[in-house]
């Protein structure tokens, strides 16, 4: 019984997160401005991170957590660098 509940919830959550990722990529390709694309990238990696944690719950393995942590850290740095580039035209001054 509890296995069915968890399995169904994980499947539905994965579908919702996949839809969120698809929507974010529509914005990323569609724009209209560069700042929209950067926020779309940010949303995309956050949703990918949530997807990995959901996979971890589905399979019962802790290893997905570490991948999620790495995505979270690298995604933050990437978004900050892109935002800085948008503001000044260069990343390191």
């Amino acid at each position: 019984m509890s296995a069915i509940i968890v399995f169904t919830a994980v499947a539905v959550a994965q579908l919702m997160l996949a839809a969120a990722m698809a929507i974010a990529s529509v914005r990323m390709f569609g724009g209209p401005r560069a700042q929209d694309r950067i926020i779309a990238l940010d949303t995309l990696y956050i949703n990918a991170m949530l997807m990995l944690v959901t996979f971890g719950i589905g399979t019962g393995r802790v290893i997905y957590f570490e991948a999620a942590l790495v995505i979270g850290m690298l995604g933050f740095v990437a978004t900050v660098a892109l935002a800085k580039f948008l503001m000044r035209g260069e990343v390191i001054e």
């Binding site: 959550a13 997160l17 929507i23 401005r33 700042q35 971890g56």
Partner: protein
């Protein structure tokens, strides 16, 4: 799904509820990001996914792994803290960059600055 079979019913329901709430918030945030008309409105929508969206999924994961392994597993809280502290920083930088670009291009509906030059003020 071998680990989920020996999960007690209350834990399974709690995991399912938190997981679905988190994923639904992330999805609503993405929908809002697609549908809202201006950039400054759109910047609010993904925050939905990065605040309680992340929080819900992390709480679900914490309950699941704590119950299945029989000892408290709190390390998901690190991702939660990390995302909630860093996302505002990126959004803040992006909002400033967007404001700066809109002012340079003199887009309508953007509040003006007292000083003409906002590039070199920090």
């Amino acid at each position: 799904m071998s680990e989920a079979t020996d999960l007690p019913l209350w834990a399974a329901i709690a995991v399912a509820v938190f997981l679905l709430v988190g994923a639904a918030l992330a999805l609503i945030g993405a929908i809002g990001f697609l549908r809202l008309p201006t950039f400054y409105e759109r910047i609010h929508a993904p925050t939905l996914g990065t605040s309680w969206g992340v929080g819900g999924v992390m709480v679900a994961s914490m309950i699941f792994f704590s119950v299945t392994s029989g000892r408290p597993m709190m390390h998901e809280i690190l991702i939660g803290i990390f995302v909630t502290v860093t996302t505002p920083a990126t959004f803040l930088l992006l909002a400033r960059a967007a404001l700066h670009r809109d002012r340079v291009e003199k887009t309508k509906g953007v509040p003006e600055k007292h000083r003409a030059d906002i590039v070199n003020n920090d």
